[in-house]
């Protein structure tokens, strides 16, 4: 079995990179709005379907379709947050989190209402893997990996160098002082609801690229997202990337020691292990 | 109580470095010093809220360093908080009852299956709570949630909490700050009375020097995480180092 180790490692890195994008979205929302937004599941599905409309119905190539997925998932994220979740935030993080679960049910079924349950696939050519010695990699995966890296770089750049990005980090870091310094926390909240869910939507489509999508697409990878965010430390964006890598690589490598049917258990074990030693995850609560 | 070489840092800033002092049984000892001198941190370490990095705390000959807060409480040492920490969903009366000692109803099985015992104890505690509330002039707000109290009332409740537990030693963190002078005087008197009549030992952090002068002896001065000196109030007040540390240096 050990001969497969390098292959599993590569698989894990690719899975991890894909996982990182929605995890960044989830953790960014947590950092600024201070609640775990379980509606990431349905927003990933929204993104996947928006991308499908752009790609299959309008014939756009992958990258513009991803941009469209970002836009639509972001808008849905913003609007649903304003209507459903924002009024509840003053009643505490957990109340809001529970409402976000109800929101997930609503959004998933709105998609089902319009698109039905059929499996749908993107109109993108598939190619076979390329071999590098013992390890095979798919060009599509490399493309996804590259996309993931580009998106991560964009997110980091935006957070690091733009005015809004800095304001976002300031609110996450010290909301009271940010308010004193003139940052409109409500506006930042809206931006983060939009951008965070937009990233989750991209994640949904990136996952969908390799599979087929249906209204339950988002649910298929919601647990790894939570696991990754917690392992990395809720609210920490570098932590999200680190956590996603740990969960991604961990899940793929688990085949060496664990029945594949228990793959999801890896995320859980990683959480328990990390939290035993660091109750706030690997990178604590640092926003950046 | 003997506190020896307590050390504790936060994020690289040393809040306590080698704090050492003794509190004799039956005294009302004051712990004074400028803000940031480490008084509250010392309280936290003594009461088990945060563990010290090194050093030790002994109470009545037993080492209590590193015990959990409830274990320290069980040894007879209770404390109050500087900023009154109310339980938002508990009423004043419930808060007082909560601090009553030896309530068998806090054991799950007793509460479920022999409530009689718990009720009997509750009745005793209720009498005590009403007495405490009356003494602290909280009797008209006993049914209010603690969140709805004014700052001064919260302060009083802090003291009430300490009184309910019938401890051997009470650590008071700024018992009269934010309370009007008349009430402050009453609190001070009450402390003195408890000390004289019940033999309770007090360790008090306080900035109100009237109160300190009136009831405390000895006084311990802390600055920059260390014990500066220990002595009677007059000794302290006339000491140049203390004036420097506490009032600030001139020029």
């Amino acid at each position: 079995m050990l001969d497969l180790l390098p292959q599993f490692l590569v698989n894990g890195i690719i899975t991890g990179a894909l996982l990182a994008i929605p995890t960044i979205g989830f953790t960014a929302i947590f950092a600024v709005l201070r609640f775990p937004n379980f509606a990431v599941a349905s927003h990933a599905t929204v993104g996947a379907f928006a991308g499908l409309v752009a790609n299959v119905y309008w014939g756009l190539p992958a990258v513009p379709s991803l941009a469209f997925a970002f836009l639509i998932a972001g808008i849905v994220g913003l609007v649903s947050d304003e209507i459903a979740l924002k009024p509840l935030r003053k009643h505490g993080a957990l109340t809001t989190a529970i409402a976000s679960i109800a929101l997930t049910i609503v959004l998933e079924n709105i998609i089902r209402f319009f698109f039905g349950n059929e499996l749908r696939g993107y109109d993108l050519p598939l190619v076979r893997d390329t071999r590098f010695g013992d390890v095979r990699v798919n060009p599509q995966q490399l493309e996804n990996l590259a996309l993931a890296v580009v998106i991560m770089v964009l997110v980091f750049t935006a957070l690091k160098y733009t005015r809004m990005g800095k304001a976002m980090r300031a609110v996450a870091d010290n909301p009271g002082l940010a308010d004193l310094k003139g940052i409109d926390a409500a506006l930042v909240g809206r931006v983060v609801a939009f951008a965070g869910m937009g990233l989750v939507g991209i994640g949904g489509m990136l996952f969908g690229l390799g599979t087929s999508i249906d209204p339950l697409t988002g649910f298929r990878f919601i647990l790894p997202i939570f696991a990754a965010a917690v392992v990395g430390g809720l609210g920490s964006i570098p932590g999200a990337v680190l956590g996603a890598m740990i969960v991604g690589v961990g899940e793929e490598m688990s085949a060496l020691v664990l029945e594949p049917a228990y793959k999801s258990a890896v995320g859980f074990l990683a959480i328990v292990l990390v939290l035993t030693f660091r109750p706030s995850g690997l990178l604590g609560e640092r926003a950046y | 109580m003997r506190v020896f070489n307590l050390r504790r840092s936060f994020y690289g800033v040393r809040a306590l470095s080698d704090a050492r002092f003794d509190v004799e049984q039956g005294t009302i000892t004051a712990l004074i010093g400028p803000n940031g001198a480490g008084k509250t941190t010392a309280f936290n370490c003594i009461s088990g809220v945060i563990p010290p990095e090194s050093g030790s705390v002994h109470f009545a000959g037993t080492e209590i360093t590193g015990l959990t807060p409830d274990q320290i409480n069980a040894c007879g040492v209770v404390r109050t908080f500087q900023i009154a920490r109310g339980f938002p969903t508990l009423t004043v009366l419930e808060t007082l009852l909560l601090h009553g000692d030896d309530q068998p109803g806090e054991r799950m099985l007793t509460a479920l299956f022999s409530p009689g015992q718990a009720r009997q104890r509750e009745a005793e505690l209720l009498d005590r709570a009403h007495a405490v509330a009356k003494r602290l002039k909280l009797d008209h707000v006993v049914v209010n949630l603690t969140d709805a109290l004014s700052g001064g009332q919260k302060k009083l409740l802090e003291i009430g909490r300490a009184l309910m537990a019938q401890p051997r030693m009470i650590l008071l963190d700024e018992p009269v700050a934010g309370v009007n002078p008349t009430l402050g005087g009453e609190i001070a008197e009450r402390i003195q009375q408890l000390n004289e009549e019940d033999g309770l030992t007090f360790l008090i952090v306080e900035h109100d020097m009237d109160v300190v002068a009136q009831i405390c002896d000895p006084v311990i001065v802390m600055a920059e995480g260390r014990t500066l000196m220990q002595g009677s109030f007059d000794d302290i007040a006339s000491d140049a180092r203390v004036q420097d540390a506490y009032l600030g240096k001139r020029g």
Binding site: K166 | G12, L149, G151, H207, E224, L247
Partner: protein, 235 residues
């Protein structure tokens, strides 16, 4: 008419809880005004009321004739009032440079110039510009907090116990900084525990007790006053 005029301010955190029971304070450009008094007297609450973090229930707070009462903290900040809270007054996970940039959030065009000004004034900050604020020592952090406040070129600066937890040396350095700010024409209102030091620093001072003005006057006179010594040392 002074720059800051606070008259008979009544405020508290909850409706049941009135901490300020009628406090009046005023301050002018180029002077340091110290607010002193025992813990719980309402000193910090007063600053919060001025900065807009608490709504004054009665009384008026005006900056150069324009009322501040009822404005949100960021609107107060826009009028040129910089408030430095006692705690959590920097962004711990952001670099020094970014802290300053956020400080100048309301005046984006002037950020560059002001930051270089501040680096000139506080070489320590320039040196550590890329480091996260959480790595600073207590004194350095207070300097950064003040520097963040300076980023908007305020007319009035409110400092809440800036010397808390600082060593004497750090305190003296910080006070030097405050003096230089005063000298630049800014009105500084500071709350202090370090009473005599504060009186030494300030031109004027108010002593509050139990939410009301107790004594006020020139700092040098107050420093010699028996009443003041009593308030702080009981003697």
């Amino acid at each position: 008419m002074s720059l800051l005029n606070a008259e008979n301010v009544v405020a508290g955190y909850t409706s049941a809880d009135t901490i300020l029971k009628g406090v009046s304070v005023h301050a002018d450009g180029g002077e340091i005004v110290a607010i002193l008094g025992p813990n719980g007297a309402g000193k910090s609450t007063l600053l919060k009321a001025i900065a807009g973090q608490l709504v004054a229930r009665e009384g008026s707070i005006r900056l150069k004739d324009k009322p501040l009462t009822g404005l949100k903290p960021r609107e107060v900040a826009k009028r040129g009032v910089a408030y430095v809270p006692q705690e959590a007054n920097v962004f711990p996970n952001m670099s020094i440079h970014e802290n300053l940039e956020i400080g100048g959030y309301l005046a984006p065009r002037e950020i560059r110039g002001r930051i270089s000004e501040i680096y000139g004034r506080f070489p320590m900050l320039a040196e550590k510009r890329k480091e996260a604020a959480r790595t600073l020592s207590g004194g350095q952090r207070q300097v950064l907090a003040v520097a963040i406040a300076l980023m908007v070129a305020p007319q009035l600066m409110l400092l809440d116990e800036p010397s808390a937890g600082l060593s004497p040396v750090a305190t003296q350095e910080l006070f030097e900084t405050i003096r230089s700010i005063r000298d630049a024409g800014v009105a500084v209102v500071l709350v202090e525990q370090n009473a005599l030091d504060a009186l030494d620093l300030a031109e004027r001072a108010y002593i509050l007790t139990a939410g009301r003005n107790h004594i006020g006057g020139r700092a040098s006179e107050l420093a010699a006053d028996k009443d003041v010594r009593r308030a702080f040392l009981g003697g």
